[in-house]
């Protein structure tokens, strides 16, 4: 793409000369970008403007004075001098390797050179590493060390793709700089070039003898980062290609609120509020899956760190965390769930590491998240509460928040004087003990059980769930010390275990007796009695017999 034909330079410079106020403190490059893009905006379609403005912006950032004051194209400024095939130089790997600034398959680092005072490296040294093709088409080497015959080489001579300003040569130049992989006697032509601000011997199998070629200091590609930024600075500090991030993949992206750079195995995100921080590995993959900077977590605010005695790692973001356990995968925790999770000791606490992201718990905005040790549910109406262990297992059986219990309205609390726990939900509770297991009590039965003292009352802990009755309107539930039965007509009443056994023998609620119409009572003579819709049952403790 060539620069527009009339006078963008004059327009841009004119704009530079006239802009004051808020732009006064901006850099020359920024003011030049403003000037040129304004000029372009007035003369082209929106789509054309955006494409051109991006290239112009990069050109001005890389070489502002060069672009504004000298004839040429924005593309040429991005790719630096000698970007045409006729100039003889070799293409950058990023240009032909899907944006990846690394030796492509079928090539290896064969040598490097150094340039000092590189603007793309913040004024420090910049390095170019040649990736030479392998000699894979021949089984035996040629006569002398260095470069193998063309017929042996794994690629053939071409040029960079038309989509890039980097039109340099691919696999044409039979040259070897010689500091890298010297255990390989022969290599093929230079397939492409990798750039770095970190000495090559720190991430490739190279020796340190520094060849120099200062005239290549501004060589670059439109598929490489085109500016030295806070992200670049962080990447260099991490070791660039030798870091766990791997090589850059294309250049920086403008994202809402900041910028981001993709790498083979991660990402660095930057905003003025958070600075530049990397995400990598499983955390990176999850971060990208939930829309990275634009997702619920926002920008990272710190590097990943070990948690839970080294059983995993966690990274903090503006609005939450991503936890990554060794067997659990990486999942985000954010919003009100974060506060509850932290209060319970986070990954080192009873919940352990998350096993899922947020999932809808109900149809009206309630959500939950699964952890190794249980789940946390949250909604605006019920608050944020964990459900753990056997209570959670029972809650799952009862279809969790979509079932009869609804969402939790408290955490689990101990039942005084017992080893049991109970937890309240919107429409009932689950009571748990080691001896009897965990069961829910709901509705009228649940209310009646509570009125009878709950787990520490006459019936004790539930030992079964509530049962609906076939062919009869009503239900019952068994407890440690008896049975509670409920029907719309007879109400909710209990009986002890001795009468319960006889009642069940007689067909229970569906039998001839029907539902109990009153709670079990102690008669004056010490016998126990329950009145039913169609009769009574009486238990004599002295004989152990039930009559009626």
């Amino acid at each position: 793409m060539t620069r527009p034909t009339s006078s963008p330079t004059a327009a841009a410079v004119g704009a530079l000369g006239t802009r004051t106020g808020s732009a006064a403190g901006a850099s020359f490059a920024q003011r030049a970008v403003d000037g040129v893009t304004s000029w372009l905006a007035a003369r082209t379609s929106r789509r054309g403007f955006l494409v051109r403005a991006g290239v112009v912006g990069s050109a001005l950032a890389v070489d502002p004075t060069g672009y504004v004051l000298r004839p040429g194209t924005a593309y040429a400024s991005v790719c630096g001098p000698g970007a045409a095939a006729s100039a003889g130089w070799t293409v950058f790997c990023a240009t032909i390797n899907k944006g990846v600034n690394a030796c492509p398959p079928g090539s290896l680092a064969a040598g490097w050179w150094k340039m000092s005072g590189a603007s793309l490296c913040g004024g420090d040294s910049r390095y170019i590493i040649d990736c030479n093709a392998t000699c894979s088409h021949c089984s035996t080497g040629g006569s002398r060390p260095g470069i193998c015959a063309k017929s042996c080489q794994s690629c053939s001579c071409s040029t960079g793709p038309k989509s890039s300003c980097d039109q340099r040569r691919v696999c044409c130049n039979d040259f070897r700089y010689g500091q890298c992989n010297t255990q390989v006697r022969q290599v093929g032509a230079v397939q492409c070039r990798v750039v770095s601000c970190t000495p090559p011997w720190k991430f490739e199998k190279c020796s340190t003898s520094p060849a120099t070629d200062q005239r290549t200091v501004d060589h670059n590609s439109s598929e490489l980062p085109t500016r030295f930024t806070a992200i670049t600075r962080r990447y260099i500090a991490l070791g660039e290609n030798g870091s766990t991030l791997g090589a850059t993949v294309y250049g920086e992206l403008a994202v809402k609120g900041g910028r981001a750079q993709r790498y083979q195995h991660g990402r660095i995100s930057w905003s003025s509020a958070t600075g530049a921080h990397e995400t990598e590995g499983a955390v990176f993959r999850r971060y990208v899956a939930i829309d990275a900077e634009q997702g619920p977590l926002g920008f990272p605010v710190a590097a990943k760190r070990d948690v839970a005695d080294g059983r995993g790692r966690a990274q903090r973001f503006e609005r939450g965390w991503i936890y990554s356990g060794k067997q659990t995968g990486a999942w985000e925790v954010y919003g009100k769930i974060t506060g509850r999770y932290d209060a319970l000791g986070a990954a080192g606490g009873v919940l352990g590491f998350p096993l899922s992201g947020r999932t809808a718990a109900t149809g009206d905005g309630g959500t939950f998240q699964v952890f190794q040790g249980g789940r946390i549910f949250t909604s605006s109406g019920t608050g944020t509460h964990e459900v753990l262990g056997s209570i959670d297992a029972r809650y799952r059986v009862l279809e969790s928040a979509r079932g009869a219990l609804g969402l939790p309205t408290s955490g689990a609390t101990p039942i005084t004087g017992t080893d049991g726990l109970q937890q309240r939900f919107e429409h009932g509770r689950i009571t748990s003990s080691e001896e009897h297991g965990a069961y829910a009590t709901l509705g009228r039965l649940g209310d009646r059980w509570l009125a009878l003292g709950g787990a520490t009352g006459v019936l004790g802990f539930p030992i079964r769930g509530m049962r609906d009755l076939e062919g009869v309107r009503g239900h019952y539930q068994r407890f440690e010390n008896g049975r509670l039965c409920s029907s719309p007509t007879a109400g909710a009443h209990w009986m002890g275990r001795q009468i319960e056994a006889a009642y069940v023998d007689r067909g229970g609620e569906a039998g001839r007796l029907g539902f109990p119409t009153a709670d079990e009572v102690v008669l004056d003579d010490g016998r126990l009695q329950v009145a039913f819709e169609r009769g009574t049952l009486t238990y004599d403790p002295e004989t152990g017999e039930v009559t009626g």
Binding site: R144, C172, D174, R176, R185, T208, A211, T212, D213
Partner: protein, 150 residues
């Protein structure tokens, strides 16, 4: 004129310019390796170790020679397995045999170990068509080159 520096000794033929420098060591405490440049043209002060900035100036009968030394521990590796100064043959030059091929030119590289020191000899000829004569000039120059152990 005889040039001796960094363990390299060469009798510079008339009409040639010679420059030798020590590379700035990449790691503190290491000796700087030598780079010897010889050219049948005056060489600009700013030039690449493998001829950038010089080869653009070559006429058809001109030569540029770079003798680039590597870290001592590379001596004897597969790339540097040849011992002694190489023999430069016309058939070993190629128009694509340079870091940055230029129209008409030709280049060749020879990796070797001499006096326990690993080197690359890089020769650029101004004309591939005149490589027989160019190779002869390079051979004559190499006969005047001596590498000393350090």
């Amino acid at each position: 004129m005889r040039l001796s520096s960094s363990g390299l000794h060469v009798e510079v033929p008339a009409g040639w310019e010679a420059r030798v420098r020590r590379q700035t060591p990449s790691r503190p405490g290491r000796p700087g390796n030598a780079v010897l440049h010889l050219c049948t043209r005056p060489m600009p002060a700013e030039r690449g170790d493998f001829g950038t900035g010089v080869v653009d100036l070559l006429g058809a009968d001109d030569l540029f020679v770079s003798l680039f030394e590597y870290d001592r521990e590379e001596a004897g590796t597969a790339l540097f397995s040849e011992h002694g100064l190489p023999v430069v043959r016309p058939s070993e030059f190629s128009p694509n045999g340079t870091q940055r091929p230029l129209p008409g030119q030709s280049g060749g590289q020879w990796f070797f170990t001499a006096a326990g020191r690993p080197f690359c000899l890089f020769v650029v000829l101004g004309s591939h068509g005149r490589r027989t004569a160019g190779a002869a000039k390079a051979t004559a120059l190499l006969s005047q080159l001596h590498v000393e152990a350090l």
